[in-house]
């Protein structure tokens, strides 16, 4: 799932945090990802963007807006909540469900681009693939992330990356977006203890 929760545990104090991306860098990263999607999908004619709540959803909407603005391409956008497909439901308190909304085009035969803020263990993406399977049968599924921080636990790789960010497991990647948090920033913080 999105940024902070991917790293498990509460957000640590802001002390010792390092800015990784500012608003302008986030904007440029999304523009680049948008272009790559157009290139890789021959004009994105059958692409559906599905953001993974929470912060994947505004990212997907920004991507779509950018593409329409600069290239005049309209791409359907939706959201895909993966909470009910997580493999750690037994281990953590119940979470509030995000919203799943598939655009009118549906996903059958389409190229679904999943959009999330941080790629870490890969478990969120695995859950998203399961969720997609219950919604229909896309022709292909691709993955776009703002930050890839490494430490994969599953054979999953992103197709589009805003920034590759080498991290240690002690560190926490914190993504803030205007739509959800009132500002655009990505910071790297040292977690309180090993493994969190």
């Amino acid at each position: 799932m999105a940024g902070i929760s991917e790293t498990a545990g509460p957000a640590p104090a802001r002390t010792g945090s390092k800015s990784v991306l500012g608003p302008e860098e986030i904007r440029r990263a999304l523009t680049r990802i948008g272009h790559e999607i157009l290139e890789r999908t021959d004009g994105a004619g059958d692409v559906v963007l599905l953001g993974i709540p929470t912060r994947g959803v505004p990212l997907a909407q920004r991507l779509a807006a950018r593409l329409e603005q600069t290239e005049g391409v309209r791409i359907p956008v939706g959201s895909l909540d993966i909470t009910l497909y997580r493999d750690d439901l037994r281990l953590r308190p119940a979470r509030t469900l995000g919203h799943t909304e598939v655009p009118g085009s549906g996903i059958d035969g389409m190229v679904v681009v999943l959009v999330d803020d941080v790629l870490y263990s890969g478990r969120t993406v695995r859950a998203a693939l399961d969720a997609l399977g219950d919604l229909g049968r896309p022709r292909a599924v691709q993955l776009a992330v703002l930050v890839d921080r490494g430490h994969r636990e599953l054979p999953i790789r992103p197709d589009y990356v805003g920034k590759n960010l080498p991290t240690s497991k002690r560190e926490v990647v914190r993504v803030l977006l205007t739509e959800t948090d009132g500002e655009d920033s990505v910071t790297l913080q040292v977690g309180p203890e090993e493994g969190r």
Partner: protein, 334 residues
Amino acid sequence: MNRHLISAADLSLDDAVAILDTAEEFATLAERPIPKLPTLRGRTVVNLFYEDSTRTRISFEAAAKRLSADVINFSAKGSSVAKGESLKDTALTLQAMGADAVVIRHGSSGAPHRLAGWVRGSVVNAGDGTHEHPTQALLDAFTMRRRLGRLDGLRVTIVGDILHSRVARSNVWLLRTLGAQVTLVAPPTLLPVAVDGWPAAVSYDFSSVLPDSDVVMMLRVQHERMSDAYFPSVREYSRRYGLDGDRMALLPDHAIVMHPGPMNRGVEIAADVADSPRSTIVEQVTNGVSVRMAVLYLLLSGSREPAEPAVATTGGLAPAGERAMSAAAAEAGL
């Protein structure tokens, strides 16, 4: 959210809203190609029913199955219960079978409280004696919110055997929490003596409260109350406290008519009222599954069974050290 759902009175506003919001997500599931989620795969839900209630049992069963839980139906008939096994011994049996949740319907008020002391899993009250029926109240609130768009400030009139009604009790407490204004209408014999302490107004004049009601909820009246002298005859009850077409016409245009079922057509509710567009009776049944899915999801997520290692239960996707540690940390913080 507590580990159990035993009384609607125990639900905070946040808990109640979380259940309704979660149910809203589940309500869209039926429209999907595969109306099933893997969420509770490997979890066991036991339906422990000491009273016949096919509709409630089926609703819980459907909810559990749509979440991929294993369902065991344990009914009082044809089981060791009929041979006089105590609730405690039954509870210990269910515990040994590894029940993650026990949905209990019982004729004695408080039986779910007792059960919760004897099992490790979650206990969901599916109706206990004349005490409570919290999932019914939740599905009623869910239905009101869907139809009327809000609960805060909603004027809800509940009519019938309040004294013996677990549906009424759960609704009174839940609607209070959700900000609705409740009016109870009943013959004085069928109201608790301490009803003045309840967060509800009381009226003996059904027709007079109808113009100011957004929701009218009719309760089933049991024929045996007549022999206990709670009212003189079914006909008199029906005349004074039944909802017929004439009374329904007194309602504002937007108002809805609810009934938890099963109905006594012609007694507390006239057939044309039950079948009118105002009636939400069929919707209530549909919504029941969504609400019960929400309850099971919220109760069972994160409830690790202590005796069972988490690694084994998650099958091929064994949690990495990171997950196991955070879970251990979460538990230590309890």
